[in-house]
Symmetry: C2
Subunit: 371 residues, 2 copies
């Protein structure tokens, strides 16, 4: 299967058009054309990391079941926004590093490997997180652990993690390996904080922000800095890029929270309910419990009533209605927009370039998306 | 709690005395005195990696439950034979690297961190393997996952793995990080091969040897080479050390197989039964099924009969008796001894030294042990 960038960026364009953001849709279309070859090559390379058909040795080495679990997740591409950050970070260098010679020349191997690594780390943590959180759905399909079992998912995560680290090690920027290990350490710590929260409803801004920092923002930051490092940017510029990546990651997660309550899948409320049962309070829930003193007791009562009955649709609807009534959803959207603005402000300190414009389009689309 | 090297090496000495290996017991006693300070410092440092009492930031970062799961496993020291390999590899360098100045001076930081890393990688894979294999007992106690849950064990394994990689990265021998990543990759692949075997009884020497190579021998090899690298040994000597480590690891695993059938815990047969139900055929079982054409069908019948009834003791006893009757246990012991001899032969190519003698004692004790 030859991947198509239409899979990756077209949904964003469609969404932008649908919600009346035609100028953004045009910019994303430009971005897609500009990065077309790189994105196709990247997607091919990501899929090849778990290729069952040609890599007989890989199959024997890793074992079918774990490899199939990894492949199953990677075949549902998600947004690939993290590796896109790596590619754009590299292009920000001003040198046309990713296409050093002629159109059609292969993507710079180092940049490509850093981008793959970024995506593999993300997917490795998804595989482990779904085991840890007993997740049943991901990207609109059953989780890998539901299809291939917990054991295969744990191993698949280990495999992708080590593969990613080997890729970064082979690229040779010593500090990038060190910072990736630190980033993964923070991701593990954040997941552990979430595990600690299991079984209680503790609306804490501090807990939320340290989890989002560790689980999401860190890898966005690493991706941009890694790309920029490969592109030869200086230390100050890399620090600025890191700030932009961090804010973009926080904005991205906050919009996920908003979409959980308003998006296409919000109607079923399955994700919301699963999170609440795990003790995961997203930002709108934290704001709602601050604004409405009766909210938390009502939420607890509703959850235990739903646990007794089988039917949950009405209960979830009532909860969401009460959250919305506090204005928490709009406030979360504003918080996401403020973080996006921080990211834009950071980028504004860099010279204008095609790559900077592309990153700005990615930021805009992150807070405009409807899925 | 101040650890005591008596915990680490005394059991080996006791065993050596009990089974009439007084000369070996004396050598192990010498080894213990020689390494006394280093081993105490190492054990303290290993325990400190998951210290709950003083490391408030660590606790907050990693989350209590995952840290407690890691600590729970690390507090049951096992034999610490892998970090011992690192220390002895370093001393083989001829320079008294681990005590560069005076008695009482701290252990060389690099050597210490490599030794800790080696032990942490081992424990990380144990935490994940117990989740993958649904193991209920380890080192004579319930597994961490039985006490703290699968989620905490997966996270604890992730945490120890990343911690180990960060330690090796900080030591700064670039090739050691790369070879450790490759070693972990092989450990994951070997565990995946075992997962593939689940639910079938497939007596294959090839499968067994690739699993033992990946899961056990690789980390012994890495430990010796890492120590030797820190000790400044040249490439040829490191290659020789690697061969010794590899053979020692295989010998060690084969003796584990023997002890499963003859050791103190063999009387209950719980471990044997658990392995068989997972489709793990150890070397004596492979030899038995080659020597006795009726063995495999009888084994399958016995396992399914035991699955129907609750009582297993008689069934396991009968299986073990049939394995022993083929001479497979003694043949496995001889195979372990042959691997130990390969390790000794490799070491014989190095100049005589206190460190070489100590490593020879470790090899001898690995194939003489009764636990």
């Amino acid at each position: 299967m030859t991947p198509d960038t239409r899979d990756v960026l077209l949904p964003l364009e469609d969404v932008s058009r649908r919600v009346g953001l035609a100028p953004l849709a045009v910019r994303l279309e430009e971005l897609r054309r500009w990065l077309q070859d790189d994105l196709v090559e990247l997607e091919t390379a990501i899929q090849a990391t778990t290729d069952l058909s040609h890599a007989a040795t890989t199959r024997e080495e890793v074992g079918d079941l774990a490899l199939r679990a990894a492949r199953y997740l990677l075949a549902r591409p998600g947004k690939r926004i993290r590796p896109l950050c790596v590619l754009l970070g590299a292009r920000l260098g001003g040198r046309e590093l990713t296409r050093p010679t002629a159109p059609g020349a292969p993507l710079d191997r180092g940049v490509r490997d850093l981008a793959i690594a970024c995506e593999l780390v993300h997917n490795a943590t998804l595989l482990h997180d779904d085991v840890i959180d007993e997740g049943t759905e991901r990207r609109g399909a059953p989780t890998a652990r539901m299809v291939f079992g917990n054991s295969a998912s744990v191993l698949a995560g280990d495999h992708l993690l080590v593969h990613a680290l080997k890729l970064v090690e082979s690229v040779g920027h010593r500090r990038l390996l060190s910072s990736l290990l630190e980033t993964i350490h923070e991701m593990v710590s954040a997941e552990a904080i979430q595990l600690e929260q299991r079984g209680r409803l503790n609306p804490s801004r501090e807990v939320y922000l340290s989890v989002v920092q560790g689980k999401t923002a860190g890898l966005f930051r690493w991706g941009l800095v890694a790309g920029g490092t490969a592109g030869g940017l200086d230390g100050d510029t890399l620090a600025t890029l890191g700030q932009a990546g961090n804010a973009l990651g926080v904005a991205f997660q906050l919009m996920d929270d908003v979409l959980d309550l308003t998006g296409d899948t919000a109607t079923t409320g399955k994700d919301v309910l699963a999170d609440l049962r795990e003790g995961k309070l997203t930002w709108p829930f934290i704001l709602a419990s601050e604004a409405d003193p009766g909210f938390l007791p009502a939420l607890e009562a509703a959850l235990s009533a739903m646990a007794d009955k089988g039917d949950t649709a009405d209960g979830v609807r009532a909860i969401l209605e009460r959250v919305r009534a506090t204005g928490a959803v709009e406030a979360t959207r504003r918080f996401a927009e403020a973080q996006a603005q921080l990211a834009r402000d950071a980028l504004a300190r860099l010279p204008e370039s095609m790559a900077r414009g592309a990153l700005e389009a990615v930021i805009d689309s992150a807070v405009s998306r409807r899925a």
